[in-house]
């Protein structure tokens, strides 16, 4: 499916998220099952299917990783995590070091250190998103896959930070 056309927006990596949220709300106003409680069964079914599609499209487009994946897929690039080209060894090594630092901070229950590490990764993740946006503006191709792989690393790292924050706060 093309989530961009479902939401009626241009197919691009640069998305105005505030405007998109508004569009999603207006589509929900038109399609949400609660709007069809008195309607015929086929109308209810079709509204439900479309509401589900709209929610899925919104979920994909507002997520920078899934947005990149779908843009690549729509231009014919095979995207699957296990098919990605091997990441740059230097990058992998560095990520391993960052993860070790995170794990030490967790053991030392050093919340400040966890925050510092998270902030650094968040900044790099934002930077990678900006680079992706520039590259997408030049066209979608397989050469973007390593960037996407990096974003996935950052996402996993930040998910782990989230777990550790909860654990240390408790």
């Amino acid at each position: 499916m093309d989530p961009f056309s479902t939401l009626g927006i241009a197919r691009s990596y640069d998305v105005d998220l505030a405007a998109l949220e508004k569009t999603h709300r207006e589509l929900s106003r038109a399609l949400h099952p609660d709007r069809y409680v008195g309607a015929s069964a086929s109308e209810r079914r079709s509204a439900l299917a479309k509401a589900v599609d709209v929610n899925e499209a919104w979920r994909i487009v507002r997520d920078p990783i899934r947005r990149a994946e779908v843009l690549l897929a729509l231009s014919g690039v095979l995207v699957a995590e296990d098919r990605d080209p091997k990441a740059d060894p230097d990058f992998l090594l560095e990520m391993m070091e960052q993860r070790e630092a995170l794990s030490s901070a967790r053991q030392a229950r050093d919340l400040a250190a966890v925050h510092r590490l998270a902030q650094a990764i968040r900044a790099r993740s934002d930077e990678t998103e900006r680079e992706l946006s520039l590259e997408f503006a030049r066209g979608s191709s397989e050469s973007l896959l390593p960037r996407l792989g990096e974003l996935r690393f950052y996402r996993r790292f930040l998910d782990e930070v989230s777990t550790i924050e909860d654990e240390l706060a408790a």
Binding site: L7, E26, S28, R29, G38, S40, E43, A49, A51, N55
Partner: protein, 637 residues
């Protein structure tokens, strides 16, 4: 006066909203566009969520059951909501309490079961159904004919807990219009949509559950951005903290007390908590022991770890929603435990503003549920209010190494669906074992297990060749169903996720039939009534559609639709449910393509960002969009 109370058989059924709370439950409905709580014969609206099972087989619910709790601590179930959808071995089940649990024997589902008077065994679903029956009877006394119910659940309830609640409602003979999240219900009760827009937080500390929800209000739409909480944290924990404190003061071992003393202590603790909201010190006297006092400051120390736990969930919810305290326009307080001054202070500090509490925090959820019930089941009300809720916890599948692959992330707007494709790990594997879990942790074992099933009959293939497609669907009640399909062979399996400690459909049906005195006859009458209500709704909707979108009708279409409408009206005059049913279906067929065009027009308008009343009729555009959406519906996974 009696003249006015004569039952009008033509009066429309009235939808109701029910707050099935840990401590108290209540029922409300909308009268003259305002939600009101329904009182019992003693003019009380709160029904204590307490059920006593007596040796003579009598079941007593509410205030009278509370009085029986002291004498019959094991037979009187208090705060049953904490056990909904829980297994017998869960930590929650083993906390300080007076109950006699039936141990699960090998091969039996791991359900919580209470042994009560006369050796009778009851499940949390049955106990909840007894509370709901009382509320239903109370509503019927006031309204005569009920038109379905919206039942509230904590936003943080997982799939098992939601399913258990729905089962209880069905068992009580209620037609469930919707399971609604409690914080969202509260926001609706505040009627914010009429005057406000902006971002709000709802802080809901009930008897046994804590929820926090961040929602955006925009032009009548309540959009939940994020939700979080703890389904095992509430006012009861404050009571338990006080009870443990008393035991410690006396040098008693909590594990070695009689059920009578435990019940008595928990009641004393609750009374002390209430006293301490207005006084700075209370006296406690355990019979035969020394008296001592508890200062408010000491109480606040005891509950401070509990408040800290709510703080973690609140900060996480704000982070998920991408908001800071300064971005919030207001904070709404819900739940009896928010009457505690320390809670109000904590909330004000956390969100950096004084919380709103002008609607009774113990009634606000039921009032909101009544508003939603009126929107969903009311007659001909076309309101612009809409709730867009989310799933509270991520849903996923266990993959290699016990790791979870998240299929739907938490805070996904419902209704929603997602697909994921997996493959075999071994050569000649003929079955897939599928384990569905809910939660945020990386390992499946650390999350809530929702269901396990096996897709069998896959032909022998080398590892990695088979393609298993899993589809998750979450409906507007937040309930999950899972569909599994092996793509190379087309073998399919559809599973409604029913946790092993829930009730299956046939059990619910059987219990329901047993509960009805004249099972067969009642069901026939009910079926006829339901079909008539549906017919009149569809006829009204069809008339309106013909009027509003007349320009979308094709030649001759109107005459066909009107003919089918007429036949449905005629069928309604004959008292035959199956005839009405078939005419409803015929009308449905006649309006199908017209309905599709109407929906596409609605989509086109939404995308243009215009409201219905401000839009020119754009038939051509509506038809163009149709193609795009038809293509979307048949996409591959």
């Amino acid at each position: 006066m009696a003249l006015f109370e004569i039952f009008d058989p033509k009066a429309p059924p009235r939808p109701i909203g029910i707050d099935l709370g840990t401590t108290n439950s209540l029922v409300a409905y909308v009268a003259n566009e305002r939600p009101v709580a329904i009182a019992d014969c003693d003019l009380e609206v709160l029904v204590p969520s307490v059920v006593a099972y007596l040796p003579d087989g009598d079941v007593v619910v509410g205030r009278r059951a509370v009085q029986l709790a002291g004498e019959h601590p094991r037979d009187t179930i208090v705060s049953v909501k904490r056990f909904m959808g829980r297994g017998a071995n869960d930590a929650e089940t083993r906390r300080l309490g007076p109950y006699d649990f039936v141990p699960a024997s090998a091969g039996e589902p791991n359900t919580v079961r209470f042994r009560v008077a006369g050796g009778r065994v009851v499940t949390p679903v049955e106990v909840s159904a007894d509370i709901l029956r009382t509320l239903k009877a109370q509503a019927e006394d006031e309204l005569r004919t009920l038109g379905g119910a919206v039942i509230t659940v904590p936003a943080y309830f997982d799939d098992a807990q939601r399913q258990a609640t729905k089962d209880a409602a069905r068992l009580a003979g209620l037609d469930v219009l919707r399971l609604l999240n409690e914080p969202t219900a509260a926001a609706l009760a505040y009627g914010l949509e009429k005057k406000e827009s902006g971002t709000f937080a709802v802080y809901d500390l009930g008897g046994g559950t804590f929820d926090v929800t961040i929602l955006v209000l925009d032009n009548g739409i309540f959009q939940v951005r994020s939700t979080g909480g703890d389904s095992q944290l509430g006012g009861d924990d404050m009571d338990r903290a006080i009870a443990h404190h008393i035991l410690a003061e006396l040098g008693f071992d909590p594990a070695r007390q009689t059920p009578e003393l435990v019940r008595w202590l928990l009641d004393q603790a609750r009374a002390a908590k209430h006293e301490l909201t207005v006084r700075t010190e209370v006296e406690v006297e355990v019979p035969g022991q020394r008296r001592f006092s508890i200062a408010r400051a000491r109480f606040e120390e005891l509950v401070s770890p509990l408040l800290e736990r709510t703080g973690i969930a609140c900060r996480r919810a704000m982070k998920d929603a991408g908001v800071k305290p300064e971005d919030l326009r207001g904070v709404i307080l819900v739940g009896g435990a928010t009457r505690v001054p320390a809670v109000r202070r904590y909330v004000a500090d956390l969100f950096k503003k004084e919380p709103l509490g002008d609607i009774d925090p113990e009634q606000v959820v039921a009032l909101g549920a009544a508003v939603q019930a009126d929107l969903l089941g009311g007659q001909g009300r076309s309101d612009d209010v809409l709730l867009l809720d989310v799933i509270p916890l991520s849903l996923g599948i266990e993959v290699g190494g016990g790791v979870v692959d998240k299929v739907l992330p938490r805070n996904s707007t419902i209704p929603c669906a997602a697909r994921a494709i997996y493959t075999t790990q071994e050569d000649n594997q003929t079955g897939f074992e599928i384990h569905v879990v809910q939660g945020e942790r990386e390992l499946a074992a650390d999350n809530r297990s929702l269901a396990r099933f096996v897709l069998r009959g896959i032909p022998r293939m080398p590892a990695g060749m088979a393609r298993l497609e899993m589809t998750f669907n979450v409906d507007t009640d937040g309930l999950l169903s899972v569909h599994a399909k092996e793509l190379t062979t087309g073998i399919e399996q559809q599973v409604a996720v029913k946790p092993s400690y829930g009730l299956d459909d046939t059990t619910v049906e059987r219990m329901l039939l047993e509960a009805l005195d004249h099972g067969e006859h009642d069901l026939t009458v009910r079926l006829l009534a339901e079909n008539k209500v549906e017919a009149s709704r569809i006829l009204a909707a069809t008339r309106k559609a013909l009027e509003v979108d007349a320009d979308l009708l094709e030649k001759g279409e109107k005459a066909l639709i009107e003919q089918a409408s007429l036949e449905l009206e005629q069928a309604c005059d004959k008292e035959d449910a199956s005839r009405i049913r078939s005419r409803i279906e015929a009308l449905d067929d006649a309006t199908k393509t017209f309905a599709g065009r109407r929906m596409n027009r609605a989509i086109a308008r939404a995308i243009e960002g215009k409201r219905v009343d401000a839009v020119e009729k754009t038939v051509e555009h509506a038809r163009g969009i149709e193609a795009a959406h038809a293509a979307g519906a048949t996409r591959a996974g």
